[in-house]
Symmetry: C2
């Protein structure tokens, strides 16, 4: 297996983009990534695209050839593959693209993610998202994602004494970070009081504990490390790419205070990268709900199990903390176009490692980690990147 | 890249399986393949699953962890990936699994495909399938798949003199073959007259020119060639796995008498396998409509462009012809559970190469080819298998 680098990144504005179609979003992110890499389109060997429920959000499956057509690469007949893993679709697409380049099968690969979620009416988005849970055993009985994560939050509060305020502090931190990210859906700072006063969605999760419904796309360009030098002098290497799965349903798990697939993917990634959690300089984690970030920083070994709430309160994960988490604003403030999220996380890590994150730049960031989760933890992907 | 073999196959009955859920189908095909290989579940390193529109057919996205859960492998947290490429979902999953094993990333990989299509009401299935066409530029204006393939048929008839009877002969042949396949949805033989008398769906395609709506699942087990010997003495090697894409929309193409992506994938596969079309002993091709088989045998180089109808009439592709095509009954008679089709084709080729195809067995079959198409040719996958 060869070493693999990221030579280009691109993403659209995240938000309610009523004037843009899925096609527009894919084109914009792809063109930005290709321009950033300074590579000619004809050099592209293959494409991977992550999309969760394009069939239900916009009535369009089979989006890989759509991406080929949008890129104008149809006459080269390059292989293109859509990957679906709910909210981890982007991360899993990245994992597949990594294998494809590492194996020697392809050299230059575009990997993107996109979702156009705001074309459906209100509650329908929540119903579509519930297709990432176990339809027969969870969703049909009314357990949508806020409900499933609320169960985890309740258990975490009961077992470890995590508080509503600590949950809220995740949102406050991520909105603060997002206020410095021009691509973020929500750029306003919020307070703990704002979160606690916002409407209850599924107790104990308030509206401001939840990530939003978002349109957006993101893309990166992968290349073998030895060819990356021709395109950039700020080479970001993929030190690890690990994917793990679990039961689709939450009720099938042995524990509710952790996503075992994420623990497993994290361990595999640390082994592959030959590093420890304390070597990570910053992380983008899957904060679809505030409780999810608290569980994530525990699962990834940044803090002991049960200490995630306290650590957040003490500022460990803030922009100037020991391990800044979600410098982009995370899913909470940057927005969560489900298929795009995994690749948007990679975008942020690359920006930080290149020193291009402007106001929200972490000093001397060398190693970054991205943690992308599908559903209630049926799928988890961890990538570790290093600037070389 | 390592050589890769198929050490196990399994598939469910194809048909209207109202008493079985998607979950049941995945379990049955997977267990059959694992039993056929004689491998313990704990040896499985990864899973790939092809499904086209599970989100719309059964309200369930994120089916990869569902497959892990069904297989009881959740505590191993093995990586599992869903791939979607419309009716080529199975073939593309196979291609990804091939890369994963060939690269050395994983040893034993289950690759499956499944679709549960008969739980939606009548016309809705056609609408869901139309999400594999270009929704914005084709489907919204009423161009569903029978219409798109009818355009190709009309053009082929106009340009090359292909007749309605020749189209019908594809269906007659495939129903004859399917009558000997216990897994086929339709086991009754039909005549040219039956086809021509059946209701018109989209001129010139009659009902019996069209493949049906089907429930079903199929699976195969891949292993590195050097480890395959421990599990079977009838080793079937993957000589080639090639994927190519094109525009999503039919109107964007330069020609309508060919699927350029299939031509491209075919050429790549022949190069990779170091063989010529005349070396192929049998083929499973994507006969979603009768015209599709005629175009396929031309695109794959079995006959010259424009001669597909005549060749079918002359029996070239019949069970005792020079190059038997769709010995399983094809999509037409065996049925077409879209996500499962690509893997079901591989199942048939393996049966034939092992000499286990019973009544429909081709004598001395050594090399078989599978041709799986998504939509109107936006995606095409060609696999070439050889018994060693």
């Amino acid at each position: 297996m060869r070493e693999v680098a990221i030579i280009g990144i691109g993403m659209t504005q995240f938000g309610e983009l009523w004037e843009k179609s899925f096609r527009d979003l894919v084109a914009e992110a792809g063109i930005k990534a290709i321009s950033d890499a300074g590579i000619e389109g004809e050099k592209i060997d293959a494409m991977y695209i992550g999309g969760m429920s394009t069939g239900r959000f916009i009535g369009q499956e089979h989006v890989a050839p759509l991406a080929v057509e949008v890129a104008g690469l149809q006459d080269l007949h390059i292989p293109a593959v859509r990957v679906e893993a709910a909210c981890a679709s982007g991360g899993v697409a990245m994992h597949q693209a990594y294998i494809a380049v590492a194996s020697g099968m392809y050299d230059f690969v575009v990997v993107g993610g996109a979702e156009k979620m705001t074309d459906v009416v209100g509650g329908e988005a929540t119903n579509i998202l519930a297709s990432a849970a176990d339809r027969e055993w969870e969703a049909f009985f009314g357990a949508t994602f806020p409900g499933l994560y609320a169960l985890m939050a309740k258990y975490h509060m009961h077992k470890y004494g995590t508080t509503q305020e600590q949950l809220a502090m995740v949102a406050v931190k991520n909105h603060y970070n997002g206020s410095m990210n021009p691509k973020a859906q929500f750029k306003r700072k919020i307070t703990v009081e704002d979160v606690l006063k916002s409407p209850m969605v599924a107790e104990p999760l308030h509206l401001l504990d939840c990530s939003p419904i978002t349109d957006g796309a993101s893309a990166v360009i992968l290349a073998p490390l030895d060819k990356a030098k021709e395109y950039t002098d700020k080479i970001v290497k993929i030190k690890a790419s690990a994917l793990a799965c679990d039961t689709l349903s939450l009720h099938g798990r042995k524990r509710f205070d952790s996503l075992p697939a994420a623990v497993h993917a994290g361990k595999k990634a640390y082994e592959m990268a030959e590093i420890k959690p304390e070597d990570v300089d910053l992380a983008e984690v899957h904060d679809c709900f505030t409780i999810a970030e608290i569980i994530a920083i525990e699962d990834l070994g940044f803090v002991e199990k049960g200490k995630g709430g306290k650590a957040t309160e003490e500022g460990l994960t803030s922009l100037n903390g020991e391990i800044p988490v979600n410098t982009s604003g995370g899913l909470k403030s940057k927005g969560h176009p489900v298929g795009a999220t995994g690749i948007a996380q990679i975008n942020e890590i690359v920006l930080q490692l290149r020193g291009e994150a402007e106001q929200r730049q972490i000093k001397d960031a060398k190693i970054g980690l991205a943690h992308n989760v599908g559903g209630s933890g049926g799928t988890a992907v961890v990538h570790i990147l290093e600037v070389v």
